[in-house]
Symmetry: C2
Subunit: 416 residues, 2 copies
């Protein structure tokens, strides 16, 4: 039996609201409770738009019985405050973190059962909307910062017992870049060595082509903290029927945006050690993105903008960017040689319902069955080890014990 060292480049962790309270300054705790209540209510409104009765019945089948969520999502039902808060903790609720997101023993068991030896850890919803949805709604800057710090402190603690397995990704905001730089340093110091999550939206602040971000690029290069653009954010599409379809259709587009500003502002030029990783946004899109930027770069008018750049957009991508492709679908895998096999990292998106956990082997076989062994080893773990600097000696005993079996993986259905 030959096992593959699997490092998931996309997993999530987050705590229930009460757990974060101790990581928040006392003066913000009541505000945080109010915010969570608001969040639960908004989530429920959205769920009412998203789920029709057929979908609710399907959800019941999935959780085994009708639970709190299916009761309160019924049309016209007016949940109490206790029921609303319970939505953020109850096992039957899609708005509550799963146990493995905050219980280290459950997490270890579930990751290992799925063949995952190491992981890159992204957030769930954190206090005051910190996390993937940051700047979707207006929030007081002091609340935003308190939420980010609470999550980072909690994650550092959560990943502390087996630091080598968990590359924790720190949250940042962009309200005051000096403060952001301090937070990056504090996060790195605390043991979050997976890098930082670049907010998809910069709110009312300029976007990432602006010189104000220069100290952020500098500190991320200095501390070897990769930047991540992870799909999840969108503008508010409202509660109308087409809103969810719009979200699903456009969510990747917002996450793809940071590449151009880091090229044109010279951030990649000045910081050749800076890494930018696109996570859970697919991979084939980058070919179209590069096609367009290469074409633009050749326009006469671009001579003004490119004269301080020693490389072309494609070359910056090759030098400094990676794709945490997460579940890499067969139809995207066919583009791997044009993208570069060394650019691609698999992620299970544990424990999200849209991810491959707990059926990762079955999903791996759909895409990778016919790939060369070295491609499989690179995409499933080797690339992530190189990009993030996982300690392979420390992970080897785990990978050798629980990693996906190569022959089982390659005995799968015919890939593309």
């Amino acid at each position: 039996m030959s096992r593959v060292m699997m490092i998931s480049a996309d997993c999530h962790a987050g705590a229930p609201p009460a757990t974060y309270a101790e990581y928040l300054p006392r003066k913000y705790r009541e505000d945080a409770d109010r915010w969570w209540m608001l969040y639960a209510r908004e989530s429920l409104t959205r769920a009412g738009t998203f789920f029709d009765q057929e979908a609710v019945a399907a959800f019941n089948d999935q959780v085994g019985e009708a639970g709190l969520f299916t009761r309160v999502v019924a049309p016209g039902y007016e949940p109490s405050d206790d029921e609303l808060m319970a939505l953020l903790t109850d096992d039957s609720s899609p708005f509550a973190p799963r146990r493995g997101e905050f219980d280290p023993e459950v997490r270890r068991r579930e990751l290992e059962g799925d063949g995952v030896a190491g992981e890159v850890v992204f957030p769930q919803m954190a206090p005051f909307g910190a996390g993937l949805q940051q700047y979707r709604s207006r929030i007081a800057p002091e609340h935003n910062l308190a939420g980010i710090r609470a999550y980072n402190r909690w994650l550092a603690d959560f990943t502390s017992s087996e630091r080598a397995r968990h590359a924790g990704v720190a949250l940042i905001n962009v309200d005051d870049i000096e403060v952001t730089v301090q937070e990056v340093r504090a996060a790195r110091e605390s043991g979050l060595w997976g890098g930082v999550l670049l907010p998809t939206s910069t709110g009312d602040h300029p976007y990432y082509h602006h010189p104000r971000y220069e100290p952020l690029w500098a500190v991320c290069e200095e501390l070897e903290m990769p930047l991540h653009s992870h799909s999840g954010w969108s503008p508010d599409y409202g509660d109308c029927p087409g809103a969810s379809a719009m979200y699903i259709s456009e969510v990747d587009m917002w996450a793809h945006r940071p590449f151009a500003p880091l090229v044109w502002s010279g951030a990649f030029e000045r910081h050749p050690g800076l890494k930018l990783i696109f996570t859970e946004t697919g991979c084939s899109w980058v070919l179209e993105k590069l096609r367009v930027l290469e074409f633009k770069a050749d326009l006469d008018i671009f001579a003004h903008f490119t004269k301080n750049l020693s490389l072309r957009p494609r070359e910056y991508f090759e030098r400094q960017c990676y794709i945490g492709a997460s579940f890499m679908y067969p139809h995207e895998g066919v583009d791997r040689h044009r993208i570069g096999v060394d650019k691609l990292m698999y992620g299970t998106d544990y424990p999200h319902i849209e991810g491959t956990w707990p059926n990762t082997m079955a999903e791996l076989r759909k895409t990778f069955a016919t790939y060369d062994e070295d491609e499989i080893r690179a995409i499933l773990g080797g690339n992530a080890a190189a990009v993030y600097g996982f300690d392979l000696a420390a992970l080897a005993p785990i990978g050798d014990a629980i990693g996906p079996d190569l022959s089982e993986l390659r005995s799968g259905a015919t890939g593309l």
Copy 2:
């Protein structure tokens, strides 16, 4: 000699500020003057970011001598109010409309000299920022509406002498959809038969998946007024060094957005006669857009959203969408069969500096020299005639006299 009937699917017209004054209600004229002053000042600030001394020297070469523009754009120069306003009219200024944009005789001569018999007419900057940049800045709704109406009234007059040659595109806003519907009817009645320009940004209003737009889709279908998404709008990237590169890199992305909401909201389903045309945004992008939406449509979660749709995204595109590809570059032309030759319309972007006028024949030869005759005739005119309903009998004498010569066109450099 065999000439091709050429209809440019992308031209522009607009008047100098003073000309619009008579089309504005008297009470808004002073406000409009103040707005134009503000616009000139902002344009100049942007130009200072955009043009370095080398670029200014190149501009001087182009206009023949150092004019008003190159004087006032010099670092540290403080232009007077008169100089600022002159920037909006002076021939040496890139912010002034060219003569052919508002002088029918000059326009006729220049279009015919370039081989163009018929045209679809899009706006220049109109009072209060109406036009391609609408909703980039906040503007009082009454000003916005007055600006739109002034432009539409002016354009109806401007195109009145030879209505069959000019498919004028009406401006609309989306502040009050009932008013918008009235404006579409008024514009059609006044002789603007080219359709309407869908604002790229909806400002603080919901985006185009929302049911509030239903009456707009209905009236455009009823009156056979195609919707247009024309590149030009972007969020404000500020005045920093990377801003212009960001604009050029992202401007198409914003214009590509309306396809998804018109699919998922059911607008295309309910209004099979509604047309959506993407203008001056290239053409190859649509293959990636369709690839992504077809993939999303197959996700299990999408079953909820697609159950009232009888067609797939690709099929709505095939039934109801077209691409005013404008100057179709050779590298995009290679995708014409995958996109559909019947979907593509050439545009010269007259009289914009980035367009092909007055060298359209030379540009045509780069792309079309090796194409089949029926492809050339379709893309250069036949498709536009069918999509917009140009009166080919009325245009025939003009096309026969001034259209590009087929053999000259096909004797060009080797195409792709």
